[in-house]
Symmetry: D2
């Protein structure tokens, strides 16, 4: 979260919204960079959504994800909304959308479907 300068703007059990200020690495024309940055945003949102339904003394670990890149990342601010599709004892499945925001309008730039593992924190 620190690296991306993100701020969680809303959260409930199973759902989160995270905002990120404009960052040049997100908007490079090079698609290869784009993929990693957008993945970080979506993965953060999924991770926090999963964490919101995990038991208190547990952490979460991303197992795998699929990302569809839908539009270039052009905007003043970026935001991601994630929600839990199913919370099991070992695995949590989350979906997230990432948006670019400009002049108050949101544009969907990517979507993720992720599998996250619940791991007990070591004492």
């Amino acid at each position: 979260m620190r690296t991306l300068g993100a701020e969680m703007t809303s959260a409930s059990a199973g759902g989160v919204e995270i905002r990120f200020p404009f960052h040049s690495s997100l908007t490079q024309q090079n698609n290869f960079v784009h993929a990693g940055a957008v993945t970080s945003i979506l993965d953060s949102a999924c991770g926090y959504a999963a964490l919101s339904v995990a038991p208190e003394d547990h952490d979460v670990l991303t197992v795998e994800f699929k990302v569809n890149l839908l539009a270039p990342a052009v905007g003043d601010e970026f935001l991601a909304r994630a929600h839990v599709k199913r919370a099991g004892k070992t695995l949590i499945v989350c979906a997230a959308d990432a948006f670019a925001q400009r002049n108050g309008e949101e544009k969907l730039m990517a979507t993720m479907l992720a599998t996250i593992m619940v791991v007990k924190l070591k004492e």
Copy 2:
């Protein structure tokens, strides 16, 4: 490629190997950062593999990918190997593995299956 300091170490039609020097952002304990960095590496490798079979006046654009994170990124150097599974006129499907290398030993840290679109370069 510039951002990640990568170097292509071998390439043939449909297959590439890319090496990346150690970079702190890859090895952060925070899994969220890990996901984005590993995705960048794998996406770069898939992009170059796709480019190696695309017509000359065309560029490639990542449509979507799935990544399985298999082990933490710990090593002196990282490398990714990608190959083309099928090259169609519009879409190219690539698979890639990312490895962490330490003391001459390779450890598989993540794997990607990606769909890439061939787009005609604008004049």
Copy 3:
């Protein structure tokens, strides 16, 4: 659709709901069969959602999909709801959920994120 005995129960531009009567092949304990049947249901729903936004003289072709299996398929009836996440000129991205219905209650059994190609019908 014929093979699965499906019936489309609601449709709008970009969104569809399909119902399937109980079919033994869906509920076998063998997980391998389960995966294929649930995939057929989800892929049908995504295909019809994509078709609802494609140009009139075009057909749709599934390029790839990711499925998360979330719960066993136990119920009197199965249904899938799909919606279009983004409709491009060449590719349409759809998301779908499959539910098992029993005694009026729905249980989410699987979810799909799919990439579908628009292809011009041959005359």
Copy 4:
């Protein structure tokens, strides 16, 4: 396996090959049926590969998979080859390719990347 009439033709720790005789449901023009049948074949192969590295008193359960459909299923026989990418204590990641065989020639028709869970058999 029974439903599809499959036969395992080779197996080693972490790798399997499964053959399926021609079956009309695989070759229907309707892409929706195709997706489910090809998924069954690939999921079977991944499941058996995972089983070959799982502890003896354990079963395997598919968590999720991504499939890229690469070519129509046209052939006298179908075969799938799967191998384990990483075997953890809880999760096993497998990759598989499905081929259509005709006149001794193999054609790659689809590829899968799957996450499989190891579950202890109930006594």
